[in-house]
Amino acid sequence: MPEATSKSMKIAPPGSLEAQKEGRSLEEGHGQALESPSMREPRPLRSRPKWDRERPVRMVLAAAGWLTVVILALIMIMLFVEGLPIFTVTNPFSFLFSSQWYPVSDPPVFGILSFIIGSLMITATALVIAIPLGIGAAAFLAEIAPPPVREAIKPIIELLSGIPSIVLGFVGFLLLAPAIQRIFNLDSGLNGLTAGILLAFMCLPTIVSISEDALSAVPREYKEASLALGATRWQTIYRVLIPAARPGIVASVMLGMGRAIGETMTVLMVSGGRLAIPSFITDPMSAMTGRIAIEINNAVFGGLQYQALFAIGIVLFLITFAINLVADLVLEKQRRRYA
C-alpha cells in the first residue's frame, strides 16, 4: 500500500495532471487503498473555472484517442471472427505453406504461400529502389539544395503521394509495363518488378518528407563541428547527419514499407496475377492485397472463400504488425543508446 503511493509519487510530482489522473484511477481501482493525504492534497489546489473549461476538451481528446484504439480492436475482432473459421476446414500449415489456390473449385483449395512471397518480393523491390533514392533526395533537400529549390521541390514530391493508386496503376500498365518488357526482354511486362517500381514511387514521398524533416532537425552544431574538423560536405552528411537522424529515417522507411505492402490497386493492375510461387522478381506474381480485392466481391458471405480472404487479411495484419513492432523496438533501442 505505501509502496504504491510512493511509486506514483515518484512518477509524477503532486499537482501535475498525471498525478491527478493516476491518483484517481488508483483510487477507483483499489478502493480505500490510497488514503494517504499527499494524494488528496492536489485537488483543492485546482482553480475551479479553469478545470471546468478544460474538462470537455480533455474528454473530446480522450475520446478521440480511445476511439482509435477501440476501432482498431473492433477491426481486429472482425478479422479474426470472419477469418479464423477457415482453419476448421484447411489447417493453418497448409494454408500458409501451400501454393495451391483454387477457391472456386470443388472442393476448394486454399494455400497462400505464393501470395505471401509475391507481396514480400514486390515490397522488397520497392524499398530497394525507394530507400537510396528517398534518403538521397532528403539529404539533397536538407543540406545541398539552395532554399528556393528546396521550397519548390519538397511540395512537388509531397504532391506525388496524392496521386491516386489507380492512376499510377494505369500509367504503369500502359507505359511502364511495355518498357520493362522491352528493356529486360521479358515475356510479359506485367510482373513483380513493374509493381515494385510503381510502389517505390508511392512510398518515396513518405520517405523523402519524413527523412528530410529528421535531417533538418539535427542540431546545427553537429554539422558545424564536423565541417570545422575538416570533413567534407559528403562526409558530414554520410557520417554525421544521417546517423544522427537515423530514428526519423528508419521511421520514414517503415511508414513507406507499410504503404507498399498494403497497396492494392496498383499491384493488382501490373503484377501479372500468376498463382505459382515466383522464382524471380521479373516473374508475374500475385500479392495478398490484390487477391482480397479481386475475390471479395464474388465470395459468398460467410462462405469458405470469404473466410479464406479474411484469413489472408489476418496474415497481412500480422505481417504489418510485426514490421511496426520491430521498427518500434529498433527505434527504442537507438533512442536509449543516444540518450
Partner: protein, 303 residues
C-alpha cells in the same frame, strides 16, 4: 459551463454511436447470399415473392436482373442465391425455389426425378455464354482445337512452337476467379478431358477483360479469352475446332446457332409454364432491358 458539458455529452454520444456502428459489421456473418430483396412494401401494380437459385455463373446476372426489376417494381421480392446448377435443380425438384438458373440442361436422372415428384420442368434460354480466344494480330496461328486450348490453359503446352508457331513462350492470360467466364472456360475448355484439371500455374490472371484485351494487343506471345463484346481489330480471334465440327470463328451469329464450340445456353427453369408475376418477370428478362443487362455483364443476348 453548461455549454461545455453539452459538448462533452455530444462527443460521448458520437463516440458511442460510432462504436455501435462498428459493432454492427461482424453481425453480417450469415451464411446466406446477399439477397436483393425490397423491404419497403408500397402500393404498386404487382406484388409477389420469387426465389431464384442455381448456377454460380448466372448468379451475378440474376442478381442484376432482380435489382433492376425490384427498382421498377418495389412491391416485388426476389431472392437470388447461387451454389451451382445442380443445387438449383435439386431445389426446383424439392419445390424450395421458384426459378432455377442452370447453365446446363437437366440430366436424364433429374428429369426422371422430376416426373416422379410431379414437377414439369420448363426451361427457357435467357442468355448465352460465348467466349472468344484471342492472340496478337501478328501471330501466325489462326485456329486451335479445344484440346489444344485445354493443353495451353492447363499449362501442358507452353511454347508456340508446339502449335506450329514461332519459338516463343506462350504468355497465357485468363480472367480472374471472380468472373463467371473464368469458371465457364475452365469447365468447358480446361476440364475438357479431365474433370479435375485446373488452370496451369503459368497462367496470368488479370482482373478485367479490358486488361487482357490490352495485353494481347501489345504482346505477340500472348493468348487470352474474354466475352465477345471485347473483340476489336487490335486482337485476332482464333477459330476454334471442336472434336466433331470444323473450326468456327466466334460471333454473335455462330454463338446463337451453336456452331461456335466455346459457348453454351443459359437457362431459367420453372415448374410448369411461368404464370402471373413470374411470367411478367420473364417477359422483362427477355425484353430490351433484361437483355441489355445480359450484354453489360459480357454474356451474349439471345437477340
Amino acid at each position: 459551463m453548461r455549454k461545455s458539458r453539452i459538448l462533452g455529452g455530444v462527443a460521448l454520444l458520437l463516440s458511442v454511436s460510432l462504436l455501435l456502428a462498428a459493432c454492427g459489421t461482424p453481425a453480417s456473418t450469415s451464411p446466406t447470399v446477399p439477397s436483393p430483396t425490397a423491404s419497403n412494401p408500397s402500393p404498386s401494380q404487382e406484388s409477389g415473392a420469387i426465389v431464384v437459385k442455381g448456377s454460380d455463373t448466372m448468379v451475378n446476372l440474376a442478381s442484376a436482373w432482380a435489382e433492376d426489376y425490384i427498382a421498377e417494381h418495389p412491391n416485388m421480392k426476389i431472392t437470388v442465391s447461387g451454389g451451382g446448377s445442380g443445387i438449383g435443380i435439386a431445389a426446383l425438384l424439392n419445390k424450395t425455389t421458384d426459378i432455377c438458373n442452370n447453365s446446363r440442361p437437366l440430366k436424364q436422372e433429374e428429369l426422371d426425378k422430376a416426373k416422379a415428384s410431379g414437377i414439369i420442368p420448363v426451361s427457357i434460354i435467357v442468355a448465352k455464354d460465348g467466349v472468344a480466344v484471342v492472340v496478337h494480330p501478328s501471330n501466325s496461328i489462326n485456329e486451335l482445337s479445344l484440346e489444344q486450348l485445354a493443353a495451353i490453359f492447363g499449362g501442358k503446352i507452353t511454347n508456340w512452337k508446339e502449335l506450329g508457331g514461332q519459338d516463343a513462350e506462350i504468355v497465357v492470360l485468363s480472367r480472374d476467379n471472380n468472373s463467371g467466364t473464368h469458371v465457364f472456360f475452365k469447365e468447358h475448355v480446361v476440364q475438357l478431358k479431365d474433370k479435375k484439371a485446373e488452370y496451369g500455374t503459368n497462367v496470368q490472371f488479370l482482373p478485367t477483360s479490358q486488361g487482357i484485351a490490352d495485353e494481347v494487343a501489345r504482346n505477340p506471345k500472348a493468348i487470352g479469352y474474354y466475352g465477345l463484346g471485347y473483340l476489336s481489330s487490335q486482337q485476332k480471334a482464333l477459330a476454334v475446332k471442336s472434336a466433331t465440327g470444323p473450326a468456327v470463328l466466334p460471333s454473335i451469329a455462330t454463338v446463337l446457332d451453336n456452331s461456335y464450340p466455346v459457348s453454351r445456353p443459359l437457362f431459367c427453369t420453372t415448374n410448369g409454364q411461368p404464370k402471373g408475376a413470374m411470367e411478367e418477370y420473364f417477359a422483362w428478362i427477355l425484353g430490351a432491358k433484361g437483355q441489355e443487362i445480359v450484354k453489360s455483364l459480357d454474356f451474349v443476348p439471345i437477340r
